[in-house]
Symmetry: C2
Subunit: 145 residues, 2 copies
DNA sequence: TATTGTTATACTCTATAACTATA
DNA sequence: TATAGTTATAGAGTATAACAATA
């Protein structure tokens, strides 16, 4: 029985724990956290380099290298955009999609191992609060969801 | 009015948001996230290179460079350990402590801007759940608190 | 022999600035 | 001129392996 952490400290500590889990799992697949994140983003949508840079909060030149390395490993492809010859879209390959799924499942397993002992009501309340936090942050930072 | 995120997805997304905030604030002070974290760790305690490596989850050789760069900026110092001539302790300097405080306050301000609109009861419940998560994780990973 | 830390080296990741090609 | 992307370059951060000094 210990005193609860301050909310800000708790959020920061928790973020380091989650990132540590994510980083360890990514590392096992020889992915950087950024690469794993890119694959997760591309699971849903097909986007250009600039948009990818925006989502990952990187410079466009950094995304060039990021996509280069993933493309060399056969995880993503650059495809031309019809009607705009200077643009490319990045798409995830079957191999990349498979790795993204493996990554997602591994993260889920490891985090669920910690959250799983919460009652289902407690999990729901926590999901609700976290969702609210994310939406409030997104609203105040003009982040598209 | 949207559906709540899945708990695992929410925790992962939230961790990226918090890390983004932390990274942006650290960047303004020309610190990497790891350097800021090191300063925060050293605010409380005076430890050796190996222990620091353990806390930051880095190899000891990486910590050599990390401490070198911080020492060159006058943020930390290596001091000898009485009674063990091969060991050193890393301590935060007044300048480093000042920067750590500035960092801590800036992070607090930005995160509080998001959490502040929660009712105090809601904040308490959230702190409680997050504290429980952190302790459960620490217990299952043999992390000293 | 084991422990604490550093050095040498190489690679990934990232940013800045300049560039190419297209709109 | 503006937009989408790449290239050239440099620096930070990290790891592995070998090393030095002390316990």
């Amino acid at each position: 029985m210990t005193t609860d952490l301050d909310l800000v400290d708790g959020l920061v500590q928790l973020s380091f724990i989650v990132q540590s889990v994510v980083g360890r799992i990514a590392g096992r697949m020889e992915l950087s956290v950024t690469q794993a994140r890119m694959l997760a983003v591309l699971e849903d949508r097909e986007i250009g380099m600039l948009e990818l840079a925006g989502i990952l909060e990187l410079e466009k030149s950094s995304v060039t290298g990021l996509v280069d390395r993933a493309e060399q490993r056969g995880l993503v492809s650059r495809v031309p955009v019809p009607g705009n010859r200077r643009a490319v879209h990045v798409i995830v390959t079957p191999a990349g999609r498979s790795l993204a799924g493996e990554f997602r499942r591994a993260v889920r397993a490891e985090i669920t191992a910690v959250t799983g002992s919460f009652s289902s009501g407690e999990q729901d309340r926590l999901s609700h609060s976290i969702t609210a936090l994310i939406y409030r942050y997104a609203a105040s930072h003009a982040i598209p969801l």
